[in-house]
Symmetry: C2
Subunit: 338 residues, 2 copies
DNA sequence: CTGTTAGCGCTTTCAC
DNA sequence: GTGAAAGCGCTAACAG
């Protein structure tokens, strides 16, 4: 056994100080009702004096269960929308005393694979994963572990365990159709990096389907490089390229890009929404701050997290939980479109 | 022992399948060089077949050490600025294979106390805490545990262990003085909830000190209610009240509020920055999107997280790490001030 | 109400 | 290069 400088008193020390055995201390902590009041008092005093903090690792090992933790893997904490999901999840878990362990995958699926394995090693009681596409190995690991898993932010008929999300394809389709309904004819589409982002891919599919249904021209599709997290400047930078396609509207897969594009359009003296309509995705706070305010798809980030949390908790308690929960998105019309 | 539905294969099953003892499997995982190549191959095959994922709880218990995790406690993931700190911390930890466990305190110190105890129970290798004021009990617990602790986002001469931050007092002082230098005379100050937010309190002190030094009038100080996380609308809502003090500039302790105030001022036909200068704090993305763009204090959130991570890692390895790291802030002049 | 006996799944000696 | 014994800190089950 390796020597560590760390210095945690163990239960045995508390027990000795209180003049009882460890078993009584253990009970005092987990079912105080079964311990005599004065013994309890002595034990509490001893805990206070020693600064004892139970070793949850040992406890979990012994009790054969996890330490009341749920693991969530999101692409990045930078994106406010995933932050919302975390907040929703937190809100669901807190009342039940569960803790949240967070991992950032940086939108990289290899990183996700590595994190799932690493976190599985800690035997969490449940998992929240972003998206529904992942390596077979990871799916397999999670299935075998037989731990509640919620995949989020998209829908699928073949979840590992449960899904809570919305259809990105339908959302993009609906926004495209909505833009067409406002009279836009040449609708361009600008996506974030789609290599490891199925949500971006699905949105593109929805956009294409809408164009086809409506008989609108298919413009060149643009993809923004691959920074870890989207930046406002990226949207500004790509605008000139997109304008070469002579669009009368541009649909961005993130508000962040759309805001950058609005700013750049203004700098270039292009009238938004008259000459050029601009739409985003996510409905971030920034969407109402930019001028003109951004038309966008409101996406239920917080609700996804909350429902996912409730579902995981239900599964843990052996209660039934839906395999698929579809949460509605909504198109929010503002001033960046006619 | 409680029966769980979970279904993790143990090392013993892998060992049996590979025709060796658990000890050899353990070695294959931790020091493969000490195991014969063909044995190693059989073991890996067995791991693959069983879907074995080591139980880090047991491993840590046995090895007497933690499972390579660092715990970070921040007020909220909603605030982009703390998200930056998390990103910086992540970046520092990842190369060394450390994992990040995140807790949200919701700006409540009782919650922080509870979380410190709960996380300490999991025996992390280090802690990142936001702010430098906390209960004696928590300080004591952390000191006794003798685990690397970095307090952040403020400076102090009496850290539990280490501090990485900047002086909120000086930052607010400097911004106030800067505003005065631009010709503003009646500078109002609007703070977020300060009850459990020492950073807000220190900023207020800095503001007051600057006024006194400059001989400027002390206006009434405004405090925005207590939502979990700041909202743009809060800044808009408080503007009328503040205007009653006839300020020629308003300094908000968060960009979020400042942006709301700019929007509200525009709605009311007040010219920013001519009639009213507005300044914020944090330098969020939103600061460059609002019109006029917001003058603010740029705060080194990401650097704080990164340096904190490096310091914790250094301490773990027994290398020296500075007790205090002061990271510079900067005043960013934009168009919301003359 | 409290103590005793096992044992969670793994790693650390120390043998062979 | 591999194994056997012991134990990490705690809790379940059964006594008493």
């Amino acid at each position: 056994m390796m020597k560590r400088e760390k210095n945690f008193p163990r239960m045995a020390e508390v027990a000795k100080l209180a003049g009882v055995t460890v078993m009584t201390v253990s009970r005092a902590l987990r079912s105080p009702a079964k311990v005599a009041p004065d013994t309890l008092a002595r034990i509490h005093a001893a805990i206070e004096r020693t600064g004892y903090v139970p070793n949850a690792l040992a406890g979990a090992l012994s009790a054969g269960g996890g330490g009341k933790t749920i693991t969530a893997l999101i692409p990045t904490v930078q994106h406010a929308i995933f932050a919302d999901t975390i907040t929703g999840l937190s809100a669901a878990l807190r009342p039940e005393g569960y803790h949240l362990v967070l991992g950032e995958t940086g939108y990289r699926s290899e990183e996700e694979d590595a994190l799932v394995a690493a976190f599985l090693a800690r035997r969490p009681e449940g998992f929240l994963l972003t998206g529904v596409t992942r390596s077979l190995r990871t799916r397999d690991l999670l299935k075998r572990a037989n731990v509640p898993v919620v995949e989020t932010w998209e829908l699928t008929n073949t979840p590992i365990d449960m899904v809570v999300g919305y259809s990105n394809e339908k959302a993009a389709h609906d926004m495209t159709a909505w833009l067409a309904g406002r009279g836009y004819q040449r609708i361009a589409f600008v996506s974030g990096p789609s290599r490891n982002n199925e949500r971006a891919r699905r949105r593109e599919i929805g956009y294409r389907r809408a164009l086809k249904e409506l008989g609108l021209p298919a413009l060149k599709i643009f993809t923004i490089g691959a920074p870890a997290a989207p930046q406002v400047e990226d949207g500004a930078a790509i605008l000139p390229e997109v304008l070469a396609e002579k669009p009368d509207a541009i649909f961005f897969t993130s508000d962040i890009y759309a805001v950058g594009a609005i700013q750049e359009a203004k700098r270039r003296g292009i009238a938004v929404p008259k000459e050029l309509g601009i739409a985003g995705f996510h409905d971030l706070a920034i969407a109402t701050v930019v001028e003109p305010a951004l038309t966008t798809v409101h996406v239920p980030g917080r609700e996804i997290g909350y429902i996912a949390g409730r579902n995981i908790l239900a599964r843990i308690k052996g209660e039934p939980a839906p395999q698929l929960s579809a949460i509605p998105f909504a198109i929010v019309a503002r001033d960046s479109t006619k």
